[in-house]
Symmetry: C2
Subunit: 213 residues, 2 copies
């Protein structure tokens, strides 16, 4: 029987080292760019051990991708389904996704890049595997309720979500381009993203408020 989960500490350490190395390298270089030998070297073990623990490159990649996707989407659902009102949720979403993207800049690039290179079947398989399919139902109801009460102007929820994600995540994705043609370094970029934690919710929320002329 091959039950890696119940094995002694050392082997757990090996498996974890592999997974950690694979995560780093896959995120950096993508599925095609990553080499199994490179992962093995980074984990400090023999290449054959990769296949002992994770049968193939595809399976190892799948594992890494699923965990990345889970990390990235779990916060989304947590916030969307909390008890807060829409304005608080918007602020939290922006804060969470800017922090997440700045701290792990490779993740959004990785997820988006691989999704665009994969077949749709793979994508749906991924989402069901992660069990982190975003659920907007509560948020959507909140928006409709607020609009009905006249608190905000009516908006299409998917546009709102896309606006938030685009404003928070795009700068990180386009970072190399932005850094180059704005001529800014790492510190200035982080400072700018910190500013956006305030600017983006402000922009979104002000667009929801009913204009008083």
């Amino acid at each position: 029987m091959v039950k890696a989960e119940q094995s002694p500490e050392q082997s757990m350490a090996a498996e974890e080292r592999i997974l950690k190395a694979a995560t780093t390298i896959f995120r950096e270089k993508g599925r095609e760019g990553a080499r199994m030998q490179e992962i093995a070297d980074a984990a400090g073990i023999n290449k054959a051990l990769l296949h002992y623990y994770f049968r193939s490159k595809d399976l190892l990649f799948e594992r890494v991708f699923i965990e990345s996707a889970r990390l990235f989407f779990s916060r989304l659902n947590e916030i969307l389904q909390s008890e807060r009102d829409i304005f608080q949720k918007i602020t939290q979403l922006c804060d969470a996704y800017i922090s997440l993207s700045v701290e792990n800049p490779f993740i959004p690039v990785f997820i988006i890049g691989e999704m665009n290179h994969s077949q749709d079947i793979f994508i749906s398989k991924m989402f069901t595997a992660t069990q982190t399919r975003p659920d907007f139902s509560i948020f959507r109801e909140q928006l409709q309720a607020a609009a009905a009460e006249g608190m905000i102007r009516p908006v299409a929820p998917h546009h709102l979500i896309m606006n938030i994600l685009g404003l928070c995540i795009f700068p990180v994705i386009a970072k190399p381009m932005m850094q180059f043609n704005m001529g800014i370094g790492e510190k200035e970029f982080i400072a700018m993203m910190e500013e956006r934690k305030r600017l983006v919710p402000e922009l979104i929320i002000s667009s929801l408020k009913i204009e008083k002329k």
Copy 2:
């Protein structure tokens, strides 16, 4: 002498067929994912001919990348440096980038993906080669002037540019994700992007206007 540009029609056709095939495949699968044999097959020629016209995979890729980047950024400068006022420019930018991204959805993914997998040196080399480095100077002055006149509230130009690009381009980049978890097909997606041609400029411009309480 090897001057492919001045060769007869048939060879031009071959060279163009290669370039067209390479463009399609590189954009779809990325630099690492693309295979020279696949490009040759798609162009309907022998693999050796690829190396005859474009010495190596790297050079072929560079060519494709530069032309993609040029296509993508040339519109940006055209609009930024025109004679229009800032509001017209913002509307034009949104319209242009949504159209461009919807018509060629692979291009933004391609450019951003490859930029994130490349070294900074490569990126600056690319930008100088394309001769399409975005120039915000005029736009920046216009913004300052408008703010000084009290027409708009003062804003940081780079935040504004990032907002516009993020709102227009992100949905296309995240399309497979969005399509899946919103459960929409191709036609609905295009319709949604068409809506955004109106929504995004509205959002941006309203955020610039000085609030009247």
